[in-house]
Symmetry: C2
Subunit: 193 residues, 2 copies
Amino acid sequence: MQNQDLEILHKLVFSAQRLSPPVWEEFTAAWEEMSLGRKQFLTQPGEVERYLYVVLEGVQRGYCLQGQREITVAFTYAPSYSGIPESFLSQQPSAYFLETLTDSRFLRISRESLARLCDRHHMVERWGRLIAEGVLVGLATRQREIMAFSAGEKFAAFMSRSRHLLQQIPHKYIASYLAMQPETFSRLLRDWQ
Amino acid sequence: MQNQDLEILHKLVFSAQRLSPPVWEEFTAAWEEMSLGRKQFLTQPGEVERYLYVVLEGVQRGYCLQGQREITVAFTYAPSYSGIPESFLSQQPSAYFLETLTDSRFLRISRESLARLCDRHHMVERWGRLIAEGVLVGLATRQREIMAFSAGEKFAAFMSRSRHLLQQIPHKYIASYLAMQPETFSRLLRDWQ
DNA sequence: TTGATCTCTTGATCTAGATCAAGATTTCTT
DNA sequence: AAGAAATCTTGATCTAGATCAAGAGATCAA
């Protein structure tokens, strides 16, 4: 693993939980690097998610189909985790696609490796708990936004938090993430500028 | 603690993670019983959630205000966990009310007691991770329903999963949980019956 | 038991945002 | 660089569900 990739992993993991040097050494050994071009799938519906990812480069999108319609549930980008958490955690078939929107590089760890590390090291288990809790808090925040906000308010919240995505991915995906039509997103963007 | 309450706790905890007898003994000692009449608050906005609850009796509602409007994010009832997870986990002030809708009884454990048990026992830490993961999976499922479903589809999903709540709490709260107006809920109920 | 206060229901209207349509840009691919 | 494909924009219309209104049932508190 390259040194700068290791640094990204270190920073991300230690921001939740410090690991002792011997545990950290064993921990890092369980991760492998992988790359994908754009428009490639990491996971598709029906598959069980085998990996937890750390994004080193690129932007990815998680989405599912409701009839013809695509429902975007999340974007991921460096430096953060990626994957289909429901499927990874429950080991049930995913209902979601996880797709690269740009060329991407990842580190990944398999479910089995992670389970073994959790068994062997209390502090890895704690890190796992803290990560799950962090995702939970994020989902709760998002739930509230989706339920309570009008299209304009969702747009404003997005612009104040994730404006950088505007330059990186097609707007239609952002519209889908905000549960509105591309036309509505386009009009809000015009009025905002 | 009464024996039947202990049984509810045992069943709930062990459905996620088995604990050895000495750990279980220490674990149960950290819980205390409490009761509340209807329309009482367990938590209000601005307070930091100090407890994780297990519901023994009654129905509770978690909600927040968006302007004048109440946004209901969850109902809890026996036998399950209750509380404001974001605030309990992050120890940030809650944005939510947690209110009893009927006379209620609980077991509760403080943040500090739980933290100590997690420190001392790897398997309690694991239980904590599994609970957080379970909540996460529930939130993800709900997020999808809110984003993808029409009023009629949300109503149908509710009826197939939680119909029993119809007899127990005012329908306006269910409407709020499904992100629709009471009038819309009333019409859907009429057409369904 | 009796008002008083919540809830629920139903009809009439309104509106935010969806849908439809079509041309203008941007971006891929070769 | 050129053509093809995808994306964005704008206007015109439509509709699911919100809002408004008002009477009918429930439920509660004394």
